[in-house]
């Protein structure tokens, strides 16, 4: 028994080392260079840049209409007053992984810390190093416009206490290294489930329907099922179809991605390594195939 446990632990450590190495290989060099790769894989630019209205890179101000009210993304440039320039690395890592900013400000889970909590602290630290190198912007943050009970941030604290799991990503030793890298990219950095997994009325992701799509996603749009269900998901896509889509946005039928996903591809996925896109595809193809979501009104 003890030998088996030891072996498992050793295998786990090996895979952990591999995941670390793969990230390293993907963006060798300084912390800021590695952090830039994390930045792309984590898709930060799409939300933190108000591209439609000509907003400066990472200066925030993008509007998100949700059932709880309207959120505006914050400035994450290193401006000392309006951005995160006065934050320490430890404060930044806590903000990303635990959803709590300097001074104990608890974030709304529109910021995807329920996924980023799985981010390896070293990756979060590299991300900090990269963000400190971008141009500072003096764009003040805009207040959220929320329905009454949600205006109080202690609600977030309660929500986190009730629903937020703890702990970073732990690889599954019985799976391949590639699968584990894909799982890390999908579940932690890529935070795919934040859109592709349905939520309950309290905004909690439904773990039973991981990546099975939702009729009511961000901006009120339907979000597709990306489990390998043949009729409702990506069951008919090959790994190479998926890898190609993640790089170019081209679907097997010749259509091209639009909406938020076009941004996610342009700003992030298209800039990852082929190995990482392949790992994502391998992980997705290995998910339990789930049906749905049911279309509303036929």
């Amino acid at each position: 028994m003890r030998i088996a446990a030891c072996a498992r632990r050793a295998a786990g450590a090996l895979i952990l080392a591999w995941v670390a190495n793969a990230a390293q290989a993907a963006a060798d060099g300084t912390a800021a260079e590695r952090g830039e790769y994390v930045f792309r894989a984590a898709g930060c630019a799409a939300c933190h840049t108000d591209a439609d209205n000509g907003g400066a890179f990472l200066a925030g101000g993008r509007r998100f209409a949700t059932p709880f009210g309207v959120f505006h993304s914050p400035n994450i440039t290193p401006h000392r007053e309006h951005g995160i320039g006065a934050w320490s690395e430890a404060e930044f890592v806590a903000a990303v992984r635990e959803g709590v900013g300097p001074g104990g400000k608890h974030y709304y889970p529109v910021f995807p810390y329920p996924s980023y909590r799985l981010m390896r602290p070293a990756d979060a630290a590299d991300l900090y190093a990269y963000l400190m190198t971008v141009e500072a912007q003096a764009t003040p943050d805009r207040e959220h416009e929320l329905a009454l009970p949600f205006r109080f941030r202690f609600v977030n604290r309660v929500w986190k206490w009730l629903f937020l799991d703890r702990g970073e990503f732990s690889p599954e030793p019985q799976r391949s290294e590639q699968w584990n890298r894909g799982a890390y990219l999908v579940r932690a950095l890529g935070h795919c489930g934040e859109c592709h997994t349905p939520r309950n009325l309290l905004g909690v992701l439904d773990g039973e329907r991981h990546l099975a799509g939702t009729a009511e996603g961000p901006d009120g749009e339907a979000i597709p099922n990306i489990t390998p269900h043949r009729a409702d998901g990506i069951g008919k896509w090959s790994v190479s179809d998926l890898r190609w889509y993640l790089e170019t946005g081209g679907l097997p039928d010749g259509d091209f991605a639009g909406s938020l996903m076009a941004e996610v591809i342009d700003e992030g996925l298209s800039q990852l390594t082929d190995e990482d896109r392949e790992a994502i595809a391998v992980y997705l193809k290995d998910l339990p195939p789930l049906p749905g979501p049911r279309k509303q009104g036929g």
């Binding site: 009729a215 749009e221 097997p252 909406s259």
Partner: protein, 150 residues
Amino acid sequence: MNKRMISRTAILAAAVLSASAALASEEGIIKYRQGVMKAQGGHMGAMGQVVQGKADYAGNMAAHARGLHDMAKLVADLFPEGTDFGETNALPEIWDNMGKFKDAAGETVKAAAALEKAIATGDRGKIGDAYKGVGKTCKGCHEDFRKKDE
């Protein structure tokens, strides 16, 4: 039925008829432009297999690129006023920003022309890049002007 009543009925009938005639033609335009879009998607899908090296029809690429280029030139004029209702995934942003929309549609025309040139060189790397360049313009327009349909 008195005379006034008859003329009112006639006017009403004429109004209903002309409204449905207008509706029918808008419906037709919507379906027509969906056909044009699908034709472009068809060429892109076919070329995608060749570019990925999964189908060995490099000799057909020029025909696909020409077809794509011809279709792409039509797009800017397929969104007249009144075709924003009904079974369409076209977003109101098209009619709110017609200038921006036409510019975006023009990007695909340019990218398709560049793809034709790249194919003429026979250089696989250049063809792949130019193909991806077209894809970028497809996404660029879909991102701002098309509703997700699922």
